[in-house]
């Protein structure tokens, strides 16, 4: 079965779980990649499942004007935050859009330090970039990873990071500047 996305969306909204599966399977690798960035590879599958269940429940209220992918990323972020909060066992708090003081995403797992395949021979620059990425502040590292490794748009990044597009651009700009500085210092 391979229906048109708008038809599948309508069917899924009316409770057709097979249409939902067909519509959302294509997005699963991207959602999984974002979940890996947020909570690490070990818990990513759980976050994807929570995300998809919440999406299934809320789908009838999904507005046609919004991007399905961006909407899904926003849910992924919320599910990721729920997991991070439950891990830290801290009292729950409301995450403000641009409030960075208490952002749990500041304590992201350092994926750059536990990627599999470390033993493989790599290009020297790749190693240097990887090492430099691990020295970046988490918010800048996440911005660079989402943009350049995962190919997210600014809007999608804003949904994942819970900030405005302007803040996304600002973090990318500062992240690039800091990464370059670290690399040049290491030269």
């Amino acid at each position: 079965m391979s229906g048109k996305p708008d038809v599948l969306l309508e069917q899924a909204k009316n409770g057709d779980v097979d249409a939902f599966a067909e519509l959302f399977e294509n997005l699963r690798p991207s959602v999984h990649a974002v979940a890996c960035r947020l909570v690490g590879t070990a818990d990513a599958d759980d976050v994807v499942m929570d995300t998809y269940l919440k999406a299934w429940k809320a789908l009838p209220r999904f507005g046609e004007r919004a991007s399905l992918k961006t909407w899904l990323y926003r849910i992924t972020r919320n599910c990721g935050l729920d997991l991070i909060r439950s891990r830290s066992r801290r009292p729950a708090f409301v995450l403000q859009g641009n409030d960075e003081r208490e952002n749990p995403l500041e304590n992201l797992p350092d994926e750059t330090q536990r990627l599999p395949g470390e033993d493989l021979e790599r290009d020297e620059l790749v190693d240097c970039v990887k090492a430099a990425m691990s020295r970046l502040p988490p918010k800048h590292r996440l911005a660079l990873q989402l943009r350049f490794t995962d190919d997210l748009s600014y809007g999608e990044m804003a949904a994942v990071m819970g900030v405005s597009i302007g803040t996304v651009m600002s973090r990318l700009f500062n992240g690039k500047r800091k990464l370059r500085k670290i690399l040049e210092e290491a030269e």
Binding site: V17, F20, V48, L59, E100, T149, T167, M169, K176, R180
Partner: protein, 123 residues
Amino acid sequence: MSRLPWRKIETSLRTERPESGMKPADAFWSDFKARARLCNQDSPVGSVRVPMFLRWGLATTCAAALLAVVVTQGGLGSTEGGSHIKSLEVVASHSAVMIIEDEPTESTILWIVDMSLDRGEST
């Protein structure tokens, strides 16, 4: 010190993708379908009819609350969020546009890189 081209750094970043380790589609969707059966989908927005007297009551309450905000805060929009750019068209020749948001002061900088006065739209 030689300046490292960003393109090279970007290429390296593209290789940073963590190994997927994603659940196979069959296993994922059979698990999902089993769980989805246990949760009902929400009702679509707009299907609930609010009685007229409730609508007026709600509107009055909202108006009063917002009025209080206007009176006590000195106007809406004056205290929440910073200044920001809604749209932009750079007519002069330039190489890049940077938007920098300074979060502590809630100010926004729009910086046009390498702007040249040679080209522009004469009016």
